[in-house]
């Protein structure tokens, strides 16, 4: 699945993006399937805005975005729901777990929607990221680091062509980052997918094929 951006200008950042040269805003850009894209984004340049725009969460922008040939601007709710269960997955910066559900339920509610990963597989991933004993803890009692690991697992429970990540490891230590990277790389490879990772500072979490400055 090809991603095409055509002169995107988010309305809230309109003044700002006119004052500097961005690798993404106002540019025409095509990202092909399987690419590992790193977007380096200093604070306030609209990193989260970009991820949300790509994921179809907000529409307050000018220009056009196309996943393959279909425009995101005109996509309805049902089309977006389909896109979010079969083509694009996301790890939000703010995790976005259901606070009243347990770690396992947060995973299971996504797993049962898409039915691509078995219960055992999901349990094994939970174990790999060191969350086995947190399985039945509700999300609102978990630390940010634990929530972030649950969010990572949740993003891998569906088929996808692109994995969008917004500061995915901000709350993790080196050991856990390494475990998470290993898991993500494995699943991305299985899916033959590409990834877009947006973060503040330069990093070498993944073997990027393209680096863009926001």
């Amino acid at each position: 699945m090809q991603l095409t951006l055509q002169g995107i200008i988010p309305v809230p950042l309109r003044e700002k993006v006119n004052n500097y040269q961005s690798g993404i805003w106002k540019s025409n850009l095509t990202l092909n399937k399987g690419e590992f894209v790193f977007i380096q984004a200093p604070s306030g340049t609209g990193k989260t805005t970009l991820i949300h725009i790509l994921y179809g969460l907000r529409k307050d922008y000018q220009g056009d975005i196309k996943w393959n040939e279909s425009s995101l601007v005109t996509a309805g709710n049902e089309v977006l729901a389909n896109l979010r269960t079969t083509n694009i997955s996301v790890i939000f910066q703010d995790m976005r777990l259901f606070p009243e559900l347990t770690a396992w339920e947060n995973i299971d509610i996504k797993r049962r929607l898409t039915n691509t990963i078995s219960e055992n597989q999901a349990l094994e991933w939970l174990d790999r990221l060191g969350l086995k004993d947190k399985k039945n803890a509700t999300a609102n009692t978990m630390s940010y680091g634990e929530q972030q690991r649950v969010a990572i697992i949740r993003s891998l429970l569906q088929p996808f062509d692109w994995l969008l990540m917004d500061e995915p490891f901000s709350h993790l230590d080196h050991v856990n980052i390494a475990k998470a990277i290993a898991l993500i790389s494995e699943v991305v490879k299985q899916n033959g997918a590409g990834l877009i990772l947006a973060d503040l500072d330069e990093n070498n979490y993944f073997p990027y094929t393209k680096t863009l400055m926001l």
């Binding site: 709710n77 979010r84 559900l101 929607l113 898409t114």
Partner: protein
């Protein structure tokens, strides 16, 4: 949607915040509204069944009246001036409130009635006939075919009253019950000179509707043809009208403009019907209002539930649940409640009908024990509207997120 674990998680997220007391209140409001609506349709249908229904022994809803042309100083010399032409009869059929027009045919041949025994008397008779469906009570013996000697007749109840309360006491004669009158056989000599025929007449019934003596239509037709003046066409000087509401001023105006006379006493009776209709339609409007309020309360409850679950709902959509899937899930929770409420209302209405039916039975009125089709129709229409409104409010509230 068959996954129970998934359903119970969705339930926890989307419906976990709802207050069960508020749910019951909303359901009660809906149930009261629906029940009242069904009851008012039931009341309306029961009244119209009692007033105009075909299975009533005596249909209370229609008033029969005999209408003739007024005999005035100007037309009293010309008998044909008070006859009804076919055109006038057709016009009567389309007059306001008129449901049916029955032509009263009278005998155009001489009848001489005699009775032997203690009550011996002899008199010239007049007979009239009306179409059978205009009779208030149809006796089983009410038929006559040429060649039959026995002739059934129906006598106005007023005749018996005059005899029993006025004539018999003054002449020192015994009073007669209806049954004893029915046992009397009168001898009718029909025709004159050498062309006569004898019939044995029996009173088979009494009528409040007609003020004379009735014979079957077939007998009058036979007599008029056989004994009447040759070449004389049967003419109508009086008609019997079956009217829905003779108190309607348009009907009164119609009679007046054509200079028709009638017995206007029973016009007052029909005022009661007018009141009944006002009461039932007022109940209906009130019931519609309450049903509307009940529906509104329930829909607001649903929207409140969805609004309370807004955070979870937004997040579900963000992780890929489609609005249609969520709407289906919510509809699956709320629609059975709606349908259950409607069924409960219908059960209450059926119970009310059974009770009503047995109550009016003691008054000598007949009502079916099961509500009539308009009640079922109201049930289908109101529950369809409810289902549509509830589904729309669910999908509307979800797609707004």
């Amino acid at each position: 949607m068959s996954d129970q674990t998934q359903k119970s998680m969705l339930k926890k997220l989307l419906l976990g915040t709802q207050h069960s007391s508020r749910l019951w209140a909303a359901l009660a409001a809906l149930c009261i509204g629906t029940t009242l609506l069904l009851l008012s349709v039931m009341i309306w249908w029961n009244f119209s069944e009692l007033l105009y229904g075909s299975n009533q022994k005596d249909s209370l809803g229609s008033t029969y009246m005999i209408v003739g042309k007024r005999v005035t100083e100007q037309n009293m010399g010309t008998p044909s001036a008070t006859l009804f032409s076919q055109k006038e009869i057709d016009s009567l059929k389309t007059a306001p409130e008129v449901m049916d027009v029955g032509l009263i045919t009278s005998n155009r041949f001489p009848i001489y009635a005699t009775l032997g025994g203690r009550l011996a008397f002899a008199t010239d008779m007049v007979l009239e006939s009306v179409p059978d469906n205009f009779l208030d009570k149809m006796p089983p013996e009410w038929k006559w075919t040429p060649g039959t000697r026995d002739l059934p007749i129906i006598v106005s109840s007023q005749f018996l009253d005059i005899y029993n309360y006025v004539f018999a006491p003054s002449q020192n004669l015994p009073q007669l019950s209806e049954t004893s009158v029915k046992n009397i056989a009168l001898t009718f000599k029909v025709g004159k000179d050498d062309k006569t025929e004898i019939f044995i007449a029996h009173v088979v019934g009494f009528s409040d509707r007609i003020g004379s003596v009735l014979a079957p239509q077939s007998f009058i037709d036979y007599g008029n043809q056989k004994f009447g003046k040759p070449g004389e066409t049967t003419t109508t000087s009086q008609v019997l009208l079956k009217t829905k509401d003779p108190s309607d001023t348009r009907f009164g105006k119609y009679l007046k403009s054509h200079d028709y006379t009638t017995n206007s006493q029973n016009l007052r009776w029909s005022k009661i019907r007018a009141i009944v209709e006002v009461v039932t339609s007022a109940t209906g409007i009130l019931a519609l209002l309450l049903m509307g309020i009940g529906t509104l309360v329930f829909i607001l409850f649903i929207e409140l539930t969805i609004a309370r679950a807004q955070h979870a709902l937004t997040l579900l959509l963000q992780i890929g649940y489609s609005p249609r899937y969520i709407s289906k899930f919510m509809a699956g929770k709320f629609l059975p409640m709606v349908l259950g409420t409607v069924v409960a209302s219908m059960i209450l209405t059926i119970i009310a009908q059974v009770v009503t039916s047995s109550l009016v039975q003691s008054q000598g009125l007949v009502l079916p024990a099961i509500p009539g089709w308009p009640v079922w129709a109201a049930l289908v229409v109101s529950s369809s509207i409810l289902v549509v409104l509830v589904s729309k409010s669910i999908s509307g509230a979800i797609s707004k997120r």
